[in-house]
């Protein structure tokens, strides 16, 4: 559909036999200017935010220690150490969240496209997915707090954070899966059925692989998004300056949490760590975005 718009736009030049009135020209020009202006206005804060992060954070991350050490045993004002503990926490929480949400999300997507149809349950599910998409991260965190900590009596931990992130990640994966499954051509399914292949095998071996690149892209983007969430880590886990690989016990750092802690450290060391963590987080998220692009190119079905 995109190519369809390119050609007509060239035809939009006024026909020779009829001149366009000045009023219409002015309106057209005005609209063009406004649209360009809107874009310019939007680019300014983006570049500004990124510039701030890079300019302030870059000096921290060029130090090899930043990627290899934790802040264990360092006082707030002492320079040195690194964000390893927080990077580990962010990746671990993201990983566990992904492991839980991906199957659920994909299955719901499959249900909606392949099984649900127009049934009442399918419509309800679709509606609920919409609602889940809009659940604020702080509400997700409070829900997990109410369920995991208060009701079930577990302590606050990295795993609780991962659970809250699951709530934020699932709707995104469902949506992507749904969209991707919908554009799988029906001929593929029908051909498979014609060969006597069961429906579930058709889905697993034909439909999903065809849609896989799109689904993986969605997963990567969703992961990138949840790893930057701050609200769940505020409520659901304590900060630890040391490396903690145990998601179920004890405080655990993550990059957003590290930033939130160092925000309260008025020294130069705190400033460096704050913006260092910010640029690290943005880097990781960009990396995941890039990975998504690469993976989807790599796995994309070869079109003739």
């Amino acid at each position: 559909m995109s190519t369809g718009l390119a050609d007509p736009s060239r035809l939009a030049t006024p026909p020779t036999f009829q001149s366009v009135s000045t009023g219409r020209k002015i309106k057209n020009g005005l609209a063009t200017v406004l649209v360009w202006l809107a874009f310019a206005v939007a680019v300014v804060p983006l570049v500004w935010v990124l510039y701030t992060v890079v300019a302030r954070g870059f000096p921290s991350i060029v130090d090899a220690d930043w990627w290899q050490k934790s802040l264990s045993g360092l006082l707030g004002r002492q320079q040195g150490g690194g964000a390893y503990h927080a990077i580990v926490g962010t990746l671990l929480q993201g990983l566990v969240c992904g492991v839980i949400s991906v199957p659920i999300g994909i299955f719901v997507g499959i249900y909606l496209v392949e099984y649900g149809g127009r049934s009442k349950l399918a419509r309800t599910t679709t509606f609920m997915v919409d609602i889940l998409t809009g659940v604020p991260s702080i509400v997700a965190a409070l829900f997990i707090y109410a369920l995991w900590v208060t009701t079930l009596g577990f302590s606050r931990s990295g795993f609780a954070v991962a659970l809250a992130l699951v709530l934020l990640m699932i709707p995104v994966i469902i949506r992507t899966t749904e969209e991707m499954l919908k554009i799988v051509p029906d001929e593929l399914r029908e051909a498979s059925y014609a060969l006597g292949i069961p429906k579930w095998k058709t889905i697993m071996k034909i439909v999903i692989p065809t849609a896989l690149s799109g689904i993986l892209t969605g997963i990567m983007l969703a992961l990138a998004r949840v790893m930057g969430e701050t609200a769940p880590v505020l409520v659901l886990v304590g900060y630890a300056a040391y490396i903690n690989f145990n998601l179920f016990d004890g405080p655990m750092a993550s990059l957003p949490l590290l930033m939130n802690v160092e925000r309260n450290n008025p020294t130069q060391a705190g400033y460096d760590r704050l913006w260092g963590a910010a640029i690290t987080l943005v880097l990781i998220i960009t990396l995941f975005n890039l990975l998504a692009t690469v993976v989807s190119r790599w796995l994309a079905p070869k079109t003739k």
């Binding site: 264990s72 150490g81 503990h85 692989p209 896989l212």
Partner: protein
Amino acid sequence: MKIQRHGAVLGLVAASSLLLGACGSDNNTGAGGSTSSATAASVPVDCGGKAKLNAEGSSAQKNAVDAFIQAYKAKCSNGDLAYNPTGSGAGVKQFNAGQVDFGGSDSALKAPAEVEAAAKRCQSNPAWHLPLVFGPVAIGYKLSGVDGLVLNGEVAAKIFNGGIKKWNDPAIKALNSSANLPDKDIAVVYRSDESGTTDNFQKYLKTASKGAWTQGDGKQFKGGVGEGKEKSAGVAQAASTVDGAVTYVELSFAQDNKLSIAKIDTGSGPVELTNETVGKSIDGAKIKGQGNDLVLDLDSIYGTTTAGAYPLLLATYEIVCSKGYDADTAKAVKAFLTVAATDGQAQLADAGYAPLPKAFQDKLLTAIKAIA
């Protein structure tokens, strides 16, 4: 589809995570710097016992405990301690439940429930309060052309509850006859999050304001004027951006944000906030507890009229068992607390706390020694 490719992607992810898992380190000894031995030496430390102690509680003493841990590791190479700054309430709860070896708390155990629970946890021995960490709270302000502002409890209370609205109010003038006070609105900044600093500050105002502060205390600011920012860094940063702002904040934050710090007139002349004036006030503190249970009578600090004693302090306790630890734990707890009361003090001033004066230090060491 290309199963191999999926495999390759998975492999790549697995490989990179392994790589990441392999090279991390908690070891920062090189960067940490050696702890100075300013107050060290004279007290021998009997290292050993449980290798990793657990403690939890007040976030106000977090940085001090970090300094203690650094000193402890330097002195006792096999010792370590994990301090989880979850708040005083959680610290007491975890201590009483036997989850941690000692608790950090901004306030004494409440009688009877908490005291009894603590005694039960210590195998029917009383728990002791050891006030190891004192944090001076500054009344920081930004007012161009005015240095060395002097306030007293009553005027401070009126500033923070809206009774005084202008910097050139006669009440402020009376204390600062030589200062050139501008006709400017006072912009009060307070902590918007729940905080022990706010609690202590309001308790101070209650005690020292001669009745001008009627709002009570608690972890939320009740003055009803001004505006709140989150955390110490937030209030200090906000106060430093506006001329005419005043706030209460831990000393280090006031210094780092280049706020001027008000002197407090306790009745015997203006007192500047220094290690000496704070030490004097700690020395003068009355102990409410019995024997080695060093519960402080905070009113004696807030209400002090001793010349040269700075009254506005945040005192936080380590809550320990007097008896009832197993031998290993007792040994390690004693070693840690001894280091904290001696070597550990050297780093405190830089971290925004007040080092213990000698006499008080001896009191603490006696108590620590008596732990069995």
